[in-house]
């Protein structure tokens, strides 16, 4: 796993549309629920342990579906993951393609819960799983808009990306696809998802409330280890059936998102 590549993917300046979304902060600020650092902290902690944790799990699982099973690294005990070999896939005609893809999975992955689950089917099931976990239609749309924007960036940055998900997957699915394309593994996919959710919301609060950016970043630094924990947990469960993956949600995020979508004047898309 390349640390520098992880930084590229997790960089807030990655042109993937994130800056236009507040992760629910704009609505929470308007409702008076976030107005200072302590209220921002409790919002971020709640968000990370609910939708952040779910996003991490689905990003990890999507990445896992598109990469070989991690093998213990000889030197460090760290994990390595290899993206499916797209060159090999495209060299084959369409008929042989699916067989080759399944074969390349079962060659290296060892015991899946169900060896017959192909990547595309798994990705579709994961995408449906996010729909099922996202009560608010506005939040579903925002997630798919961000997924689309991320894939646009991925297609230009890692042109060999394998994407069985169509152009508008949910954001965590796109994050898994991006991580696999970048040669990263499930844990890094999960980390990118949960950390991106944290910093995106925090940065929206800085812009909306004029909070001291140093204190907000100190808060991010305090919460960062929690992102590590969430990501490790997500990676450990990356092969779990969709129904067993985390389903935490925060009802106020759903309600706020629905109201926010009807506002006449707003700064953020969600």
């Amino acid at each position: 796993m390349s640390l520098s590549t992880l930084l590229v993917l997790a960089d807030g300046r990655l042109p993937a549309g994130a800056h236009a979304h507040s992760g629910g902060v704009e609505a929470a600020v308007a409702a008076g629920r976030i107005h200072d650092l302590p209220t921002l902290e409790s919002f971020l902690v709640g968000r990370t342990s609910t939708s952040g944790t779910a996003a991490a799990a689905f990003a990890a699982a999507s990445c896992r579906a598109l990469t070989t099973r991690p093998v213990p690294h000889a030197r460090s005990g760290d994990i390595e993951a290899a993206p499916l070999d797209r060159a090999r896939l495209t060299a084959l005609d369409n008929g042989a393609r699916s067989a080759a893809r399944v074969e390349s999975l079962t060659d290296h992955r060892g015991a899946l819960r169900d060896d017959s689950v192909r990547p595309a089917e798994r990705i579709t099931a994961l995408d449906d799983g996010i729909d099922a976990r996202t009560a608010s239609p506005a939040l579903r749309a925002a997630s798919r808009a961000q997924g689309r924007a991320l894939l646009r960036a991925v297609a230009r940055i890692w042109p060999a990306a394998v994407n069985p998900a169509g152009p508008n997957p949910h954001h965590p699915i796109a994050t898994g696809i991006a991580a696999a394309a970048a040669g990263l593994g499930p844990r890094e996919a999960a980390l990118t998802a949960v950390y991106g959710g944290l910093t995106g919301a925090a940065s929206a609060a800085v812009r909306l409330l004029g909070l001291d950016p140093y204190t907000v970043h100190a808060l991010i630094a305090r919460l960062a280890p929690e992102c590590d924990r969430v990501a490790a947990d997500a990676a450990a469960r990356a092969d779990d059936p969709v129904d067993d993956l985390p389903a935490g949600s925060a009802i106020l995020l759903d309600l706020d998102a629905e109201r926010h979508a009807t506002w006449e004047v707003r700064l953020f898309a969600s």
Binding site: R13, P15, A16, G17, A18, H19, A20, H21, S22, R86, L89, R97, S98, A99, R101, V102, R118, P119, A120, E121, I123, T124, A145, R148, A149, L151, R152, A153, V154, A155, R156, P159, A161, V162, N163, P164, A165, G166, P167, A204, R207, L208, W263, E264, V265, R266, L267, F268, A269
Partner: protein, 221 residues
């Protein structure tokens, strides 16, 4: 007309209130009957500009799209253009072949310019009410825009702005790049700008205009 090529994309940027939306409306009035055109607006606040254009009736509703910019209008046109590309491509997909797409940026500052990944040409609009020092201050918008529009010349006597000074400073900053003076009150058709736009649309693309690949999609097995 270029049925087989994608539309020419022209960005219209400039400080808050300089007359960008008024210029877009004028261009729509002047060009809507001869070109297949659509507009993307980037409001700081939601859909104000798009709503103005709809109310003005210069273009059918379905030819105007608004993009939200999360407090950062310059980010949306320069550093992370994904939402604007989505809007542009959605218009092209829905409306079929187009000749021209105008992208109005949210009002920002003198440094806000469009990415070449989003537009083919850009117009920067400043106004004389900001004082005749604006061209002298320069900045990427004034210095590098393909066309500089100095708007609201009708207000020059009221604010004591010297148009001669502005013309001289603009030329010093811009070299051979063109500058036009405009009053959208006195000349609601924006004729010199409309002519410049017509030339850009008629221009054969020297290199084929860059086609954004749609997001990667390989069909699953």
């Amino acid at each position: 007309m270029r049925p087989d090529k994608r539309a020419v994309r022209i960005g219209i940027g400039g400080p808050v209130g300089s007359g960008k939306t008024a210029l877009v409306a004028a261009l729509c009035r002047a060009l809507a009957t001869e070109l297949r055109l659509a507009v993307v607006t980037n409001d700081i606040y939601t859909t104000e500009d798009a709503d103005f254009l709809r109310r003005a009736g210069v273009l059918p509703d379905d030819r105007i799209r608004a993009v939200e910019t999360g407090c950062c209008p310059h980010t949306a046109i320069r550093d992370d253009i994904s939402a604007n590309l989505d809007a542009v491509e959605e218009l092209e997909e829905r409306l079929g072949a187009l000749d021209l797409i105008l992208v109005e940026s949210g009002g920002d500052n003198l440094t806000a310019t469009f990415s070449k990944g989003l537009v083919d040409h850009q117009i920067f609009v400043v106004d004389v009410a900001g004082g005749d020092k604006v061209p002298r201050k320069g900045g990427p918008g004034v210095t590098t825009a393909d066309l500089l529009v100095i708007n609201k010349t009708d207000l020059a006597p009221l604010v004591g702005a010297d148009l001669g000074v502005m013309a001289r400073d603009a030329q010093a900053r811009r070299g051979d790049l063109p500058t036009v003076f405009l009053s959208l009150v006195g000349e609601p058709g924006a004729a010199p700008v409309a002519d410049w736009v017509r030339d850009r649309v008629a221009e054969p693309a020297s290199t084929p205009r860059h086609h954004e690949p749609t997001p990667a999609h390989t069909h699953g097995p």
